[in-house]
């Protein structure tokens, strides 16, 4: 049986003792490891001497509030206009009692039990998003681990295995095992003699045996090695009848044809690597943290209708969405973080290049549906604690909550997170129809769905009035033609937000974009 100790076993006592004493001097002399690679966030900007200049910020999302925080610290007079009756923008949490009205007028009131929530927009924070993590730390926003990889969650293809979901661990172990066996066979047959040196070939075989869980004959077969990865038919136990029974790996043909290997790739993405976090209590806590610092500068319920600039300054016309009153605000400069689909509809005197850039970036769609169930059956019945099940059904994934593990319930899971064509399809339906569809799909993975369902809530981003889409979808071609124009200072106006970054769709893009923008703005002010 595997024991909870590290895998290094062939250690040589003598050489080790030598190392403990002798080599330490060498290590001590080593320079510190290069930390710069992880992010281009280099700490908050060091702006000083804002000379009392004024900046009007449009939008109190994460980008706008980062700018407000740092500019006010640097001595600027800052005012922020926000369309919603809350700050945060897409950094948002829906919980019981919240009401949300989408484009077209459909209104949903979230009915979740206290403590349950979904994050309709961003929901996870990679360890290398240094900008966001910096502000979470500074603003007292508690973070907890987000379970990205769960080997015991499912991967599901309606056209494979008779539509029966498979455990992630089975697919990964078997894919690696078969790849290991085939490559070992090639190496042993001399097929790679031109490419791999004899010495490396030998190490490679050792590596493949260990990595692929191959047996003595370099085969991936049913046995202790493969079951030590994929799990057993009968688990090891205690006492008299404790002997485990190995499980049968999936053969290479069935595995390849299932296409399920594709689902183990998502966890290899830089943005999804562990350790990855979520705010305790929902992503809306990020908004609340910023609000504590800059809330007094924000005017909510303010819909911008026109942006005008001249040599003296910028004037923004807006409407109070509660009273209907038309108002104006003026400042020396304007930092505009309004999402492009909305901005494109606002009258603004900027260069034709910036105007073209604003219109050049379509927004991706995305639909999230949160479902509340009477109990956490995914934990109690399926032993899935957090993590994500991937499916080729239109709901695309089911994500299990990374908090309150073991709670009796009710519990909320993310029943759908989908973009693309399926996202548009789902967006077209009413909120009730969306929930019904998602129940129908999810039942194919968790038959408990219908019996345990209580209520659901959906956010279809193309129907969200304040963004009209989820995030900016750049292409290589549109980047080449428009990106610099979008980010460039235009008279007294600067744009910021995830759309003005190479981190589209992430809060880190909003923050690094804001810092870049205000740094340039500050240079302009200092230069007079």
């Amino acid at each position: 049986m595997n024991e909870p100790i590290m895998p290094m076993t062939k250690r040589d006592l003598l050489s080790m003792i030598g190392t403990a004493a002798g080599a330490s001097a060498m290590y001590m002399a080593m320079s510190s490891m290069d930390q710069a690679k992880a992010s281009n966030f280099q700490g908050p900007p060091k702006l000083e001497g804002g000379k009392g200049a004024s900046v009007l910020i449009l939008g109190a999302g994460v980008a706008g509030m980062t700018a407000a925080l740092e500019l006010s610290r640097a001595g600027y007079k800052v005012q922020v206009l926000e369309y919603n009756d809350r700050v945060g923008g897409r950094s948002w949490t829906l919980q019981g009692g919240d009401t949300y009205t989408e484009l077209g007028g459909a209104t949903q009131t979230c009915q979740f039990a206290p403590g349950n929530y979904i994050n309709p927009g961003p929901w996870r924070i990679p360890w290398h998003h240094h900008g966001l993590i910096h502000y979470c730390h500074e603003l007292g926003i508690g973070l907890e681990p987000f379970m990205q990889v769960n080997y015991n969650a499912y991967v599901h293809n309606t056209k494979a295995f008779g539509g029966k979901p498979q455990r992630y661990r089975h697919i990964q172990a078997d894919f690696y095992g078969h790849v290991g066996e085939l490559l070992a066979k090639s190496v042993n047959a001399g097929a790679l003699a031109q490419t791999v040196s004899k010495e490396d070939g030998e190490i490679l075989l050792e590596a493949l045996r260990s990595w692929g869980a191959l047996d003595r004959n370099m085969r991936y077969v049913k046995g202790a090695a493969s079951s030590g990865r994929r799990g057993y038919d009968k688990e090891p136990g205690g006492g008299l009848s404790a002997v485990p029974e190995p499980s049968e790996p999936i053969d290479v043909q069935t595995l390849l044809r299932s296409g399920l290997w594709r689902s183990i790739g998502g966890n290899l993405q830089w943005d999804h690597l562990s350790t990855i976090f979520q705010p305790v209590g929902g992503m809306g806590q990020v908004a609340k943290g910023f609000e504590r610092a800059v809330g007094h500068m924000v005017r909510k319920n303010s819909k911008v209708t026109a942006i005008h600039q001249d040599e003296k300054g910028v004037t923004v016309s807006y409407k109070d969405t509660k009273s209907g009153a038309a108002m104006t605000a003026s400042a020396d400069y304007c930092l505009c973080t309004i999402p492009l689909p909305v901005l494109a509809q606002i009258e603004m005197n900027v260069s034709p290049e910036l105007d073209a850039a604003i219109r050049a970036v379509p927004y991706s769609t995305s639909v999230k549906v949160g479902l509340e169930f009477k109990r956490r059956f995914w934990e109690q019945d399926d032993q899935i604690y957090g993590g994500i099940t991937y499916t080729d059904l239109p709901n695309s994934q089911i994500s299990y909550p990374s908090s309150r593990y073991g709670d009796k319930g009710p519990g909320v899971l993310l029943g759908c997170y989908v973009g693309g064509a399926a996202g548009y399809e789902l967006t077209a339906g009413t909120p009730a129809q969306r929930v019904e569809k998602v129940l129908e799909w999810g039942s194919q993975i968790h038959p408990q769905y219908r019996a345990e369902f209580m209520n659901g809530v959906s956010v279809a981003w193309h129907r969200v009035p304040f963004t009209l889409g989820c995030f900016g979808s750049w292409t290589e071609a549109s980047r080449a033609e428009h990106y610099k124009n979008l980010c460039r200072f235009d008279g007294r106006i600067l744009l910021a937000g995830e759309h003005a970054s190479y981190y589209g769709g992430w809060q880190e893009g909003g923050i690094t974009s804001a810092i870049d923008a205000i740094t340039r703005l500050h240079q302009r002010v200092i230069a007079g």
Binding site: M1, N2, P4, I5, R11, L13, I17, A20, A23, M26, Y27, S32, Q35, K37, N40, R124, W127, H128, E144, P145, Y151, G163, Q172, V179, L183, S186, L192, T195, W211, S227, R229, K234, E235, G237, G238, G239, A242, P244, Q253, L256, W261, R262, L268, Q269, W270, T275, Y385, P394, G406, G419, A421, W441, Q448, Y483, R488, S501, Y502, G509, T512, D516
Partner: protein, 530 residues
């Protein structure tokens, strides 16, 4: 840039709509998914109806012993538990400030960790499929939090690789995957595997390798932005005018192989190491305390067993109170003995020769754990390492970063060594002071500027020197299992053994619990049949 969306993008709207309607009936008819394979645990044992006045003596108040006491009491037995130490829990143990650790040979450590900080010298992580343990944690209100097992940004160090400079796990793992994919793609294209893989499967496999290994259009693993979207960038994507990322440079095959990174990859792939994993909030001993709350009144602490006898009427254990020196004899109808085999082998115990041989047939491993308290969480602040392990081929084996109090601005305890095998014996042979020095010297390889500068104090537990166990856990081999396992676990007269050593889940709490449930179920059957 990669968006925060699912990886499935090439979905065809039309086929999808068809699917949503058509496939449903079939799925509705599907039976509930099979969960039976998950564990041998199928709920707590339904023992009931013990004969009036029937009694059981339990030796050892570790998890196995306390579980036996708890369930047997529920079944109607009169239970007494004898425990050598002045605390319950056994290896389920957390070391905190104010604790004293006394080793065989007399070396004594007075632990000075700050309040809230701790070291789990024994078990420290709970796999999601250890359902017995999870069941009782829930039943006894022991709160769990995630144990960060896999941290892609932690490091891998090997003296003979990369000039001794640690590398980030994610870079090596991505490079290993990429090179393996490229080589297999090359073999397939050269026809080297045509006898093993059909033409259709070959095409599918090549497509899979391209995607999974992040290969380029020519099936090559090269330095580019796609590969960087796995292993990280030289300059990460950012905002504004200079937001464009620049790719990082991949390592060549020979360098990747020299790192032995597959050792770590294999480790994370292990069924018992797979995410999601948990730890109890506040330290591993919260579990022992949870059990103890249920049965505290049955336990006699500070009680050293010196002899175990049985006859056809019952069992008797002779004991000495380690505080007062008082001696006594405890008797009962039956006995569940959870003493570690190392201790049991030194006792006068009246069992069959076959069981005696079995008890003596299991050597115990000699792990060493060292907890170093540091002034700040520099591994988070400077290295962006939040939980997880950095591995090394030095004696310390690894260092592991705490999975609680993330981001806090106060001293924290990191695990400065988890040594086993030769490394464990080497560290166990040192004085506690020298162990700390070795841990600092070796761990500095990962964090050279900060490790000594931030160090405050340390404590170590060398399991082979702990007087109440003389080892960490039972090390079975295939041969010793074949000869001795059944003899160890069989009921011998009125005595049955339990503990992780009496399971196929050696060294895990789950093994101790499953073993205990199996033992008391058989004991109960015997008692009813008698």
């Amino acid at each position: 840039m990669i968006s925060d969306l699912s990886p499935q993008t090439r979905r065809d709207l039309l086929t999808m709509i068809g699917r949503a309607g058509g496939g449903l009936a079939m799925y509705q008819a599907m039976t509930a998914l099979g969960h039976a394979a998950e564990t041998q645990f199928s709920g707590p044992p339904a023992l009931s109806g013990a004969r009036a006045g029937a009694s059981v003596l339990v030796l050892g108040a570790g998890l196995a012993g306390m579980l036996a006491a708890y369930e047997l009491t529920k079944a109607g037995y009169k239970v007494q538990v004898l425990e050598y130490q002045d605390r319950p829990g056994g290896r389920n143990y957390s070391v905190r400030g104010g604790d004293k650790i006394v080793e065989v040979g007399g070396a004594t450590q007075n632990v000075t960790y700050q309040p809230g900080n701790y070291l789990n010298p024994g078990p420290w992580r709970i796999p999601h499929h250890h359902r017995t343990l999870l069941h009782y944690c829930k039943a006894f209100g022991v709160e769990l939090e995630p144990f960060i097992q896999l941290n892609h940004n932690a490091m891998v160090h090997r003296k003979d690789a990369f000039g001794g400079k640690p590398q980030r796990y994610k870079e090596l793992a991505v490079d290993f995957t990429g090179h393996v994919s490229e080589l297999l793609g090359k073999s397939l294209n050269a026809g080297a595997l045509d006898t093993s893989v059909s033409k259709e499967d070959k095409e599918k496999l090549i497509a899979a390798l391209r995607e999974w290994g992040a290969l380029d259009g020519d099936l090559k693993f090269t330095s580019n932005l796609n590969v960087s979207s796995r292993r990280g960038y030289d300059r990460a994507p950012g905002g504004g005018v200079n937001g464009a990322p620049t790719p990082s440079k991949i390592n060549g095959l020979s360098d990747v192989l020299s790192s032995h990174v597959w050792t770590q990859m294999s480790f994370y792939f292990n069924y018992v190491m797979q995410t999601t994993m948990f730890q109890p909030k506040g330290g591993m001993d919260m579990i022992g305390k949870g059990f103890y709350k249920q049965i505290a009144k049955l336990v006699r602490l500070n009680t050293k067993v010196t002899a175990i006898k049985q006859d056809d009427k019952g069992v008797a254990a002779t004991w000495t109170d380690t505080v007062t020196g008082k001696t006594g004899v405890a008797t009962a109808d039956y006995m569940v003995c959870t003493l570690p085999a190392t201790i049991l082998a030194q006792l006068d115990i009246q069992v069959s020769d076959a069981k005696k041989s079995a008890i003596k047939a299991i050597p115990y491993s000699g792990q060493v754990k060292i907890g170093l308290e540091m002034k700040s969480r520099f591994w988070e602040e400077k290295y962006s390492i939040y939980g997880g392990h950095s591995f090394t081929d030095q004696a310390i084996g690894l260092i592991s970063y705490p999975n609680y109090d993330f981001f806090k601005d106060k001293p924290a305890v990191l695990l400065g060594a988890f040594a086993n095998g030769a490394g464990g014996y080497m560290l166990a042979g040192m004085t506690p002071e020298k162990r700390i020095e070795a841990a600092l010297a070796q761990g500095s390889v990962f964090h050279p500027e900060e490790y000594r500068r931030e160090f405050m104090n340390g404590a170590s537990v060398a399991w082979s020197r702990m007087p109440w166990i003389l080892g960490c856990c039972g090390m079975w081999t295939e041969e010793s299992r074949a000869t001795h396992y059944q003899n160890l676990v069989s009921m011998d007269g009125r005595i049955v053994l339990a503990g992780e050593h009496a399971s196929y889940y050696g060294c895990w709490m789950e093994g101790a619990l499953l073993s205990s449930l199996d033992a008391i179920t058989r004991l109960h059957q015997r008692a009813l049949a008698a």
